[in-house]
Every structure is written in C-alpha cells, then in structure tokens.
Symmetry: C2
Subunit: 346 residues, 2 copies
C-alpha cells in the first residue's frame, strides 16, 4: 500500500499502464503551425458538419476516440472506462460528443489541465486492477470557447498581447494493462509511470486575458513537488512540458521555480508556445484550451518518445478555473495542474 505513494503529491505505479494508441485531430489553423505534420487528422470545416460550435467540439472528441481505437484495432466495447471532459459549462461538448460510444463514463472538469487529470485517473483505473483498457480524451474549440468565455466572434474584439488562442482540437489515448500484451511489445510502448496531483492555487490574478499568469503558480507547485517527492533534478527529465502557460506564464514559472531552487529553463517546453508560430499566426502569448496540451501530447510528444529522442517526460497540463459568472462577479482566477510521468524503456 504505502509503496505506491511518494510524498504528499506523487504516486508511482507498480504496473505502469502502457499507452497502446493515441490520436490527435485539429483544425486548419493548428495544422498550419509548427506541429502540423504530426497530427492524425485535420478538419477543414470548423463546424465539423454540425449545427453549433458546441456540437462541433463534441464531434472532435468523438472522432479522436474512434481514431485512437482504430489505430489499436479496438472497438468502443473493448474499453472499460472513458475519462473525458472539456472547458464548456456542464462539459456539454463531452456529453453529446462521446455519448454514442456507449462506454462507462467518468466526466471530469479540470479546465485546461483535464488531459493530465484524465490520464491520472485512467492510469489509476488500470494499475489498480479495475480495468484492462481505458480511454482518456479531452478537447477545446476556438469558437465554442470564445462564445463561452469572451466575446461573440462577429464582434471582432482586440486581443491583448498576454492573451492566448484557444486550440481547436482533441486528443485521445488508449491506456492498457501491460499484462494484456507481450513483455516485448510493452517495452516498445510509452508508459505512464506515475502522477503528481495538484491543488487549486490562487495568486489573486483577475485578468482573464492573462491566463498564463493565473496558472503558473499551479504548474510550479506540481513540478517542484514532483521533483521533491521523487528526489530528482530537472535534468532527470528530457522535457518538463506544461500545457498552455504561453510566453508570459513561462517567464513566471521560471521565476517561481528558481525561488524553489530549480532551474528548468533547459528542459522546459510549453505546448501553447510550440503549437503556433506566434510571429506569423497572430496568436500572441500562445495556444490554450484543453485541446492544446492534448493534441501536442498525442502528436509531437508521443512521437519524440517513440523514436527514443526523449526517454522520460513530465507532462503537466495547466488549467485556469474561471467561469463567466465568477469573472463577472469580480473573482480571481485560480489555477490547477496535473502532472504525469511518461517513460519509455526500450
């Protein structure tokens, strides 16, 4: 029992689940960015053939899960649990998007940290012996997020330089108990070795156009706690990857980590910074949204690990916990982050 826990925040798995397959589906703008070549599917129609932005986002999730299942020659009925969520009120893109799959369902809300949260719980379900195969999925859509949190698209509001651009996309992963495949096959797979679960952190920032600043303290807590819990150094990781801090949040993260005695500049990567070319794509501080870290993980990050370029990665999606109501009521924007350790032996 006690052996799985490492300190206050971290759990290391006894039988690390393997990532059997994964898929990333994105919109056109994302496909034109630096990671364009790594995505499975590009949707040229931002409506995904649906009648609303919310339904379009749901369709992204549905398509991403089916694609990930296809790649592993699996069907929805082979999956024991689905761990899924999105940014919208009552996670409505998820509910309508994945309904047709008819998989026993755990709905999550972790804002843009959801890919980390769903991977954490999905891995627990497998390591704990409750499931053989599970799917973790999340999504975001530029238009549904703008409608939910900001201004009508037609209004054409000016965006601040600290603001980020919500990624249109969904990433899905199939996790499997390693005992389901041969030892040799398992060795070739990326595995979830552990998780570091964050707390809600509030530094009192109220600017919804500067979410990187809101989330940086939560990311710093998870990364510093993980390194302390594991008694490791930043150099023990090929990459420490945050979700969507953007260029503004990244600077704050470096500063906060220095205060904790860690220099992570050499190993840090932020999905929000990588996904767009900020010079030519007018995305300001970076990409954001649950989909940002999800599609980056399910494309470039997994690719780098599979070719052996990276052996060990700490993946830390970051979420800003605001709603239209909390913002209008003048509340601050707390943040949360969920860390996942990915490793490949072979």
């Amino acid at each position: 029992m006690g052996t799985k826990r490492q300190g206050r925040y971290t759990v290391m798995f006894e039988k690390p689940p393997i990532i059997r397959s994964y898929a990333a589906i994105v919109g056109e703008k994302e496909s034109e960015g630096p990671l364009g070549a790594y995505f499975d599917t590009v949707c040229e129609d931002p409506m995904m053939g649906q009648d609303s932005w919310e339904a379009a986002e749901g369709q992204l999730q549905y398509t991403a899960v089916l694609k990930a299942l296809d790649k592993a020659f699996l069907r929805p009925e082979d999956i024991d649990y689905l761990f899924a969520g999105d940014l919208l009120g009552q996670t409505i893109a998820t509910s309508f998007g994945v309904m047709e799959l008819q998989i026993p369902h755990f709905g999550l809300y972790g804002a843009c940290s959801t890919m980390g949260e769903s991977l954490s719980l999905a891995s627990m379900a497998i390591d704990g012996g409750f499931a053989s195969r599970v799917v973790a999925v999340t999504s975001s859509h530029f238009a549904s997020a703008e409608k939910q949190f900001r201004y009508p698209l037609g209004y054409g509001n000016q965006r601040s330089l600290a603001s980020t651009w919500t990624v249109t996309g969904s990433g899905a992963l199939v996790l499997e108990n390693a005992e389901e495949c041969s030892e040799q096959a398992a060795k070739k797979c990326v595995r979830v070795h552990g998780i570091t679960t964050g707390k809600i952190m509030d530094y009192g920032i109220k600017d919804s156009q500067n979410m990187g600043a809101c989330m940086a303290p939560a990311a710093a807590l998870v990364i510093a706690s993980h390194l302390k819990d594991m008694n490791r150094k930043p150099e023990d990781y090929d990459r420490i990857i945050t979700g969507d801090l953007g260029t503004v949040g990244q600077k704050i993260l470096f500063e906060l980590m220095r205060e904790e005695g860690y220099d992570i500049e050499g190993s840090h990567m932020d999905c929000g910074i990588e996904i767009f070319d900020h010079e030519t794509q007018d995305t300001h501080a970076g990409g954001s949204g649950c989909g940002c870290s999800a599609v980056t993980l399910c494309s470039y990050v997994m690719h780098q690990m599979e070719i052996g370029e990276w052996k060990r990665v700490l993946f830390v999606p970051t979420g800003a916990l605001l709603s239209k109501i909390s913002f209008n009521e003048g509340l601050s924007i707390p943040g949360i982050a969920h860390g996942v350790v990915l490793e490949k032996d072979g």
Copy 2:
C-alpha cells in the same frame, strides 16, 4: 486483475474502503422536511455569509468537508485526494469552495450523479493503494441552480408539476483504507464494496422541467446491469436508492425495470422523494441537485446502515446532462447514473 471486474459495468473491491465519517449541511427548507432531524448543520442564512449564490454554495462544500473531517478528528493535510464537483458551469462552486483546504484535487462533472461518481473514484483510489484517506464531496444550491439553468428568482415563474426543487446542501464523506484502523473498528463501519459505472443514455426528452424522465433510463441501466453483473435479485438489497428521479421519474424507472424483468417497487427509494414533504412544501415532483442525494446519503441512509436497519444498499445518484446552451440549442437531455454498493458487516 480480472477478479475485481464483474461483467461490463461492475467492479467489486478487494479491500472495500470504510466510510470513516460523513457530514450533511442543508438549508432551512431542507431542515423542515421529513429528514430534518438527521442533518448535521442547518444554515439559516441562504447566502452563507457570502456575496453571491455561487460563493454560498462553495461555502456549503467547505463547511461539509470540515465537519466530516472534524467528526473523524482529521485535518485537511491528512487527506490524500479530494474528489469534488457541482452543477454549475466550470464547477465554480467547487473550485472556490474547497480551494482553501489545499488538498490534491480531482474536479468532476457528473451533474446530479456526482456523489456516485466521486464515491466511485474515491473508492478506487483507496482500493488501488493510491491513497490512505480521501474525501468525496458535492453540493447544490437552489438559488445558484435557478440562476444557472432557469429564471431569475425575482421573476417568480410558475413551476410545472413534473419539475423538481433543487436542494440547498452539501454532503461530504471521508473514505479510509481499512488497514488504517483495527479489524474490529472496520467491522463497525459502512464500507464501499463495489461500483457500477453508467453510460450516457439519451431517450430524446427535451423538457428541462421533467428531469426525472430524462434520468430514469440511466438509472435503469445501472440498476439492471448491476443485478445482472452480480447475478443478484432486487431483494438482495435492503434499499435501491436513486438520486433525484422524483415521483414522475420513479414511475418510469419501475416500468423500465419491469421490461428488464425486475420488480424493484418493494426496495426502491428516491432521495428526491424523501427529502421534502411534497404536500406541504410545494416541491412538486421532488428534490433534485447534486446535493439531494449527497445530503440524504450523509444523513438518513448512513444512519439506517449504522444502526443495522439496512445491511446492503445500492446507491445510484442520477444526473441530467444539460446546459443552458444545449437547452437553448434545442438539444435533448441525456442522463447518467453511477451506482455504489454500501454494506455493513457488523
């Protein structure tokens, strides 16, 4: 590994977690209902001393968790994980409510099924060896729910007879690995023996004033699947307890169960029907909201089990997956339910 799973939907735990303590906090109307004497705390101020309905609901969660911890002589730092959620967009009552506890946090969205979802994942965390002690909590508030889903309170709209009344309240439970206490003490505790996890079910109903009908198919799926997975009969349970189907949803549930070959009329109870006196409290079809099943569990249900009146209960909170946006876009209201088997040996 395979031994924990029972069929497609059910998992039975090897080391069933004990319910170490629990607390229910409610508003004045709930305290005047038939279960009034069982609640720990009654808040006479519906604003809970806060500035908004959302903050009031958050304060309900905070108070319920602290009360449950107090009853077990525990502090927030003794808790490994918090599994929490509510009905509001971006689960904002939860984020602001429990933030101060500073417990590693998994945010959930299962609409009014959240108490079942949080108990399921919390139990997995303990049986899987990932945590020694965890808290599961959820809440709802009449005023924050009306504001989110229906009409401004001052508008004084007429309510349909099929409609339910959102419960103002929060229920919190502390779950513990039984190895943390003596065998004798564990025997005296109610334990979570297993879970049956639901899928999203959509019968195409669009009437947000009739949520019982929207959720009944999801409840029927979980109850029938559980009985099949376990090869048991309804009579094997002292009570089969749904969350907030109300009188209208209950009739549909009985019908759907009969189609599956089960008569559950003798053992069924619905928290929404029990919590108010519908003749005198003008609550129409019953109570609803995440708080409805949560406070009924953390008061009357746990009391009946602790005094040995009930030995085995199937607790099945039910959720209606709608948002203001999905409703305004003319979509149907799918449902989901999460089943939890509670047993007391001693």
